[in-house]
Symmetry: D2
Subunit: 360 residues, 4 copies
């Protein structure tokens, strides 16, 4: 069930890098929600390639088409909302040269072992292009959650060795690397350019902050908020670690330095990152995604051919030297999709609520 | 569906810290698997409390009873295997004093917001005691996977400020803190004792290594191996971050320093931690869990009463000053349960396999 | 996932006819629901064996024990409710004689083909005894739904050739065959006794009526109310057909004789059996279950041995000559469990509701 | 999760009667399966409207487009297969006249109560047009199962009062009503024509037979083969009852007349309809679907307006006077989809198989 995500706000995505189209079907949407195409397009444009020196030159308009689920007035009708995005600019020839070799750091070899198929053009289903469908679904989740005052923002807090000392989300939104520290943004760009000139790529860290999550979302034991969100973030290719609140630092601290004191409205500080016992506290949910460098580099690497012969490989094609700026909108999308799922699950914790529900 | 985990090897756990019993029901087990009670008991004993100065003095025999799912010969019959563990040593009085106050760092306040209930004895369902059911299920998963040559081991690699420089799993198995570095084990114990004397607790890091995972396990997109494993680890209370392979370090590196060169049998190095494109490479799966300090400390902390009045609180009761030694077996269990789930999913990737399946 | 049922009100059952115990774990219950053991026992007693000449003489107290999920005040705490029923009166010797032969009409042969195991004592997991766990879960669902004014009743409307002309549920509740027609009840008993004397058994039909289901329950397309209820009823062993409303008769009629005219509050008649377009209309939900005769009969039948040698078999042991009286409570339980599942799903069809939910 | 069906062969369908398009995404397909568009089109054409006097005059080419999931060679790649069918001939004006009135026997009123929306053009998601996506998915399931020797056929066995005395599937395939009895086919057509002239419609019965199902498919307890198939059939609009084998007749018989004697290769007769204990016996799986008359008739009926005012209504638009001929291919599709789901689940009942699986 690899391509289905969520229980109540349930999505199924499809499509390959070089196939006819990508898309998503969303099931579980309540009726009556206004879904303007422009809202989808806005988020899709934020992850679109070809926007700067720091992202893949592949040019894709990423125009969304809504195939179902809306009334004539553009409101959800309770039926699945299907969104289609056609591929326009697939250049297989970039990949034909590679199709008989496995690219190190890519899914080529593991897919071959799993499906018995040679590397597919552009990585097929394993391509980062898959995330366009997630962003489309995330835009719908955003429309569902915004009226509740819930808002998700993601930005880059580290590029290679350059770590943000301050965070300015508004600045990040317009920075080509989505880097959050205005003063260090130039340094961050240099880090990428230097790597790029060397035919190399750099790792990065993205921070996601969700404000307005009401206290009480998330489920005990296996569906803790951090478990579902963490799984969602780790399902984004190239994310190798996920941290909530001051998670990694807390592991080296004492309890007295880790606990957040309680006030009448909940925790007074937010070391816990908005989640306690798997359930939201009402403070901002904060997570950090640790992203490996883009595996496609122009430097020569050791590899093997389909027939298992040792060889070398240098990947050209069109790639992002640093993944953070394009993964940030994807991280927002996965956060929103996961929270929309919990939102639709919120209704059944007090008998009182369930009964009131019957009154409609 | 908070208490159900897995798709094919599916478990449902139940029970509270101070209730009559805890347990798990396992659905999806193939018939014919030998399940000796002794194998379950062995793993249960590894997480049992009251084993050293460094773990809660609560004394629980944690004797497992198998209620269903076995033939007279002690082999699985294809029906659900139900395992029951009775609570023997619940001391509610420890908690009665606290039941009108919310404990900082615990789930008390969020559960109150979600379920409208005051703090339950011992934290009720949110207690670490819940993990005994996971370990029982993990022991069954181990029996299922061992014949395939698959083996999972977890040990402590950091306690407060003390980080292991070397790793010796055999030593760790007999160290009271499961600390993996023989030379630094004494220092680690000091770290805990100092905190304990100060009425405080310490954070820690557990590393899980699974060897023998065949190449090809895991699913693209949403059910990537790291997504499912990561979600499983983050569902363990107090785990605040999860890392795969050299995950966090990779985020600061270049691609040429992050990619693993390929040989005829797959990657030649294991920076990727046994997973590429969400699918196992055949190399050891390596993950690290970052664990917050035990929230229960004897130092005075700011809190509020059930009625919302500011107050102070000092938690006594029986607690582990450092969670790593008892979470390590739980981490093994969650890894084994997740992999058993993928194992049972392995059968449907080649038509050939599916057809051969019909021939029985 | 054979032993898990439901999405929101989710149950997992376990146990074999001659194993240590049977039971069920219920996940998804809202907190605050009062669950008196007496309420469970009341429904369990209604399906208990050994109550009359017309049911198996096997004597089982069927005492339920609640292992988890309740507060000290006996209210649900939002955690899984686990219910255990120990087997007391398993007489394997009745079956040892048979264990090398396959019983016609039973699951012996198909289980052998599926699991590679010889017939298990009492049929193991395939025994009707499995339904005790369904009834326990159904009793909890009843407690959840009764406050909404929802009520489920099942009774026998046909025994062999005797079909009820009138329906009196109160009479049925105290009739040994749960036969709904006071005037024909004697004839129905004769039908069973005659068959019994001939070492034979008889088929039957059970009708289930659920009143108080609000309009709007059920989901379009695959989770239509009749699809979920129908699947639930057909999951009860020996049920070979399921009909909703005047279903079978409608197939021979014209549209003008099948449609229910509409009034301001919905359909004015109930040929449709309370469901239109897969969604409840607010009128009583009416279904009929067609039940095959008990396969265990004392007459000689052709069979084969485990090794495939032709042989004959006569089944003794302890069996119900007519299944209706004991399946009726099981049918009620499956209806209630399915509707509890939809009840917990009811909250997400209007934005308004979801928002109001946030306000708690 | 109303629009998702299946666990291993998992489909999600979308689309409305008068929306831009309908479609289905199929997840879980093994890699390497050849999927020719012509095979999809063949099945789609069998349910296409406008094919005779006895089906809706609406003209739809129902041309399928495959958007994802195939290699350049037209074989599945292990990723989701997405199939799109555009609507060409939606005539909303037929429905505008009706949009302020609820049509008796339709989902208009229940959808209004559930979603708060007025009747949608053509019934929106509740239209029979939704089934085109099921048939497309069924065609893929057929491609997956045919190599195993599995074959599904459905035909009409009753139209109004005319019941087939003999069954000739080949004849049925070319009869406009798919009526299975060559001698009575003319009578069946008269039955429909008479009703049609009276502005009325007729009910019908469809029989589905699946041959080649290996023994051992299906799961005990809740996922019995008849439970999953029955739920699948009852999810088809207008199906009001489902019967397996000689189900309804068995309810009036004795055990000695109901049991199928056993031979070395399983049951020697097939009163049980290919399923015992919820698991396939290897004999043909036989089910009958009882279908209500088309609710849309030109006769005047009592109804209400959106505002609840009593009124009368006569439905014109374009409709099938008898649903059997077009539902038969849908019934085949649901049977094949359900069985494909079990097929992909077949691999995990013997340790031996699971281990062999690892060897690839």
């Amino acid at each position: 069930m690899s391509n289905v995500f969520g229980h109540n706000f349930r999505i199924m995505t499809f499509g390959e890098s070089h196939g006819p189209a990508l898309g998503v079907v969303i099931d579980g949407l309540p009726a009556g929600l206004k879904v303007p195409l422009s809202a989808l397009q806005k988020d899709l444009n934020r992850r679109r390639p070809g926007q700067s020196l720091y992202t893949s030159p592949r040019r894709e308009p990423d125009q969304a088409e809504i195939l179902s689920g809306l009334t004539a007035e553009g409101r959800t009708n309770g039926a699945p909302l299907a969104i289609l995005i056609r591929n326009e600019n697939a250049q297989s020839q970039d990949y034909d040269r590679l199709s008989r070799k496995f690219r190190p750091g890519h899914a080529d070899w593991t897919y071959f072992r799993k499906y018995g198929l040679p590397p597919q053009p552009g990585g097929g289903r394993s391509s980062g292009r898959e995330t366009v469908a997630r962003v489309a679904a995330g835009a719908v989740a955003r429309l569902l959650l915004s009226p509740l005052g819930l808002s998700a923002t993601a930005y880059t807090v580290a590029v290679g060795g350059v770590r943000a000392a301050a965070v300015d989300p508004d600045f990040a939104e317009h920075d080509p690397l989505r880097f959050a520290d205005r003063d260090l943004a130039g340094l961050a760009r240099q880090e990428v350019e230097t790597a790029l000139r060397a035919g190399d790529s750099v790792g990065s860290v993205v921070e996601v902050v969700v404000t307005g999550v009401p206290a009480g979302w998330g489920e005990p034991v296996f569906d803790k908020l951090e478990a579902r969100l963490g799984g969602a973030f780790l399902s984004i290719g190239a994310v190798r670690a996920v941290e909530f609140g001051e998670g990694i630092a807390l592991a080296a601290r004492r309890g007295s330095e880790a606990n957040d004191p309680l006030g009448p409205d909940g925790p007074l500080t937010n070391r816990h990152g908005g989640i306690q016992g798997g359930i939201s506290t009402g403070l901002p949910v904060v997570a950090r995604l640790y992203i490996r460098p883009t595996p496609s580099i122009s430097l020569e690497q050791r590899s093997v051919t389909l027939s298992g012969q040792p060889t070398t490989i240098t990947t050209h094609g069109r790639h992002d030297p640093c993944l953070a700026p394009r993964l940030a909108p994807v991280a927002e999308a996965m956060a929103l999709i996961s929270l929309a799922d919990f939102h639709l699950e919120q209704s059944r914790h007090y008998i009182a609520i369930n009964q009131s529900v019957e009154t409609d």
